[in-house]
Amino acid sequence: MASGTIFPVRKKAAPSPGRTAAREVIGKYGGRKRAVIQVLQDLQERFRWLSVETLEAVALELDVPLAHVYSVATFYKSFSLEPRGRHICTVCMGTACHVRGGTAVLEHFERRLGIPAGQTSPGGEVTLERVNCLGACALAPLAVVDGRYYGQMNESKANEVLKPILAGRDAPPASDKGPVD
């Protein structure tokens, strides 16, 4: 989170990719101010994170105070105000995962990737995230790597999944594509 940053609002910002994208997305929601959360979600999907410029563009295009956009972007956990890695690893910390050893799985990911949960590797290669429940509790413990769900996670399975990422390649296909194509 870009805590402590005071953003100068640039009224005459030249049309940036962020500004154009913001205009496009806001148009999709009919310019409604209440859609700010959806707008930020769509922009994050496109840019993988929300930069100061993106937040400014949303504020200007929606005609709401930047402070409001910032308050929303920092309140909700889905938003990342820092660049995220090319690969995203998410370890589920729901109760079912917890009682079946989810914490050990998360710690293993942390050791293998060399970063604590919530951080991105220095080269921007991979981000490790923890989530409070993905609602796939029957598969516990669960990890999601680049949108693919891997159930009944353990140390050796994690090694296999992470091997290509650590070697700078794409994750191997799971037995199937996850629910997110």
Partner: protein
């Protein structure tokens, strides 16, 4: 419509999809085409069957044969045997436990046999992306009845008479909520479906949205007619992409068919529905916070009254119900209040869906009549505890709920009984725990959760949960004092009384219920520095039993800290100073050897004192 002799129903819920449902479907279609069965056999993808752990699941209709854990490699043989020769294949069927005959028919499997489906009635039998299939199973019949043959008052009266109560947690009577909103003069009015299922360990709302989105839509249109709303919102967690996608498809199809939008079924009634995605904040499941989130604000709860039924979205009268509640409405209108209220107990009518997870053999979603005994759910449907372990407790109601011990296994499951026992119906998460689960660690887990998810508006919740989590962390680290238990109890009371919304008011429940039923575990951590379940890292020691170790090198290779020394066929030794207690050695040591043991308390400390000197480099 074209007729097929056999339907192959491939489960495509999140669980089965991640274990390979689409690859299975492709393989089935290819094999069927290759065998020239294309005009006889149809492959259909359905919503979640609830038995996710067995995925990918295939059900063959009309024989009602249940196959589990199929891979594309199994397909050619299966198609040849079952579809060409008419011989079901036992090796892919469900086996209750080793040595028992496989159970071919789905309806004979214990997991399914004891269930009573109202909300999940269409699970595993219709394609949720096709409205025709929903309609074929009496879908939208209730809507037609409510719009053409009933007055709004009669709809409210029917729902009231059914005794339906909110399935999202608190259990407020749905009919009363509707009546309250109907009486309000202000307009416009709104309808909201709360699909922000944040309770860790609960996933019935995801499943309903994925498996039968039209049931939710139908309920909402009926509700809208009853209170006089023209606009509704379905708020779905961002973590449920498949549910968002299926609901989107369903809304589109309902509009095309005149079941949603303007002049619904020619009755002159207009109602529009919009999906709003959540953005990852547990507190948005609280109704006033959810309303703030739809308005584009931070999800802060506010004081009630006024209740949303009086002043909700944009200050207008709003009915907000949970996914499972909405999904009950159509059945009530179609089959009548008397039918619905014949199920369940005096105060809790109908059925409830529970997610049965954790240390249990049959993991998944189960819909059972209210009033069923916990024992019947855990042992009858769930098949008991795996690995010969012993049942210890069941956690019900998520972070707002509590842990119920073995002595209360005969407790009937209804709103009042659960609350009296210190738990809560909540959204219906049931996490089964065995002797290897530490109750103090579980309390800490939940308090860390609520502390992280507290929105920060009320100081007792924001600061109190943090203090409670810190005390619990101290106890699990073996640094607690008896004074800490008193402090926990005082803090719990403060947080309960001084918080505005349900999150804070119920946050201390996991601590209070574990203190009530498992106080001796707290005392063991504090007085004996012992973790009876051998979970809390600071209090346990991993040790390789020399007489059991066969020197297979497995643990040595898997130790991330390089703390294990030894040679092939020689006894391995853990360097206790280097050990990070990750448990990798314990997990990889083969089940028939079991040379790695966990010790706690004095036994564990004794091992530390006599530990061998680290091996020479």
């Amino acid at each position: 419509m074209k007729q097929y002799r056999t339907h192959l129903l491939v489960c495509a819920g999140t669980g089965c999809v991640s274990s390979g449902a689409f690859a299975l479907k492709d393989a089935l279609e290819k094999e069927i085409a290759g065998r020239g069965l294309k005009d006889e056999v149809l492959v259909v993808t359905t919503g979640c069957n609830g038995f996710c752990e067995r995925g990918p699941i295939l059900i063959v209709h009309p024989d009602n044969i249940f196959y589990q854990r199929l891979t594309p490699a199994d397909v050619p043989y299966l198609v040849e045997e079952h579809l060409l020769k008419g011989r079901p294949v036992p090796k892919h069927m469900y086996v209750p436990s080793a040595g028992i005959e496989p159970v071919p028919r789905m309806s004979d499997i214990d997991f399914f046999k004891h269930q009573r489906l109202i909300v999940l009635r269409n699970r595993g039998r219709i394609d949720p992306e096709k409205v025709e299939e929903y309609i074929a199973y009496d879908g939208y019949e209730a809507l037609a009845k409510a719009l053409t043959a009933m007055t709004p008052e009669a709809v409210v009266a029917e729902v009231t008479a059914s005794g339906l109560r909110g399935r999202g947690g608190a259990g407020f009577p749905t009919g009363r909520k509707w009546a309250l909103c109907r009486r309000e003069k202000a307009s416009p009015k709104y309808i909201i479906c709360n699909g922000d299922e944040g309770d860790p360990g609960a996933f019935m709302d995801r499943s309903v949205l994925e498996a039968d989105p039209h049931a939710v839509i139908e309920g909402m249109v009926i509700g809208a007619k009853a209170i006089g709303a023209a606009k509704g919102f379905v708020y779905i967690r961002d973590e449920y992409p498949l549910a968002v996608a299926r609901m989107g498809i369903a809304i589109g199809q309902a509009k095309e068919r005149g079941l949603l939008g303007e002049n619904i079924l020619g009755s002159g009634f207009d109602f529009d529905l919009e999906i709003v995605r959540g953005a990852g904040a547990f507190v948005s499941g609280e109704e006033t916070a959810l309303i703030a989130s739809i308005e584009g604000q931070r999800a802060f709860p506010r004081q009630r009254p006024p209740y949303p039924a009086q002043q909700g979205l944009w200050g207008k009268p709003t009915v907000i119900n949970n996914v499972e509640t909405w999904a009950n409405v159509a059945s009530i209108i179609r089959r009548g209040a008397a039918w619905f209220s014949s199920l369940g107990t005096e105060t809790s009518k109908g059925t409830k869906i529970f997610s049965l997870v954790g240390k249990i053999k049959n993991t998944g979603l189960v819909e059972v009549p209210m009033g069923i005994r916990l024992r019947d759910i855990i042992f009858g449907i769930g098949g008991g505890i795996p690995g010969g372990r012993e049942f210890k407790a069941i956690q019900i109601g998520g972070p707002s709920g509590g842990c119920i011990p073995k002595d209360l296994l005969d407790l009937p499951v209804d709103y009042e009984s659960l609350t009296q026992a210190g738990a809560m119906m909540g959204s219906g998460g049931m996490i089964v725990m065995d002797q290897d689960t530490c109750m103090v660690d579980i309390a800490l887990y939940f308090l860390r959760f609520t502390q992280e998810e507290s929105c920060g508006k009320c100081a007792p919740c924001r600061i109190g949960t943090r203090q409670m989590a810190e005390i619990l962390a101290r106890i699990t680290a073996g640094e607690g004092s008896l004074e800490d238990i008193k402090k926990l109890e005082t803090l719990a009371l403060t947080v309960k009384q001084g918080s505005l919304c349900g999150l804070g008011q119920t946050a201390p429940n996991p601590v209070l219920s574990t203190l009530r039923y498992f106080r001796e575990e707290y005392l063991a951590h504090i007085s004996e520095k012992r973790c009876p379940a051998r979970v809390c890292k600071n209090l346990i020691t991993f040790f390789i039993e020399p007489e059991k170790c066969v020197g297979c090198l497995l643990c040595l290779k898997n130790c991330p800290a390089n703390a294990i020394s030894g040679e092939r066929k020689k006894v391995h030794v853990i360097d206790q100073a280097a050990c990070i207690k990750c448990g990798a050695c314990f997990n990889v040591c083969p089940a028939k050897i079991q040379a790695v043991a966990k010790y706690t308390g004095e036994e564990g400390r004794a091992l530390l004192d006599e530990r061998p000197a680290p091996a020479e480099p």
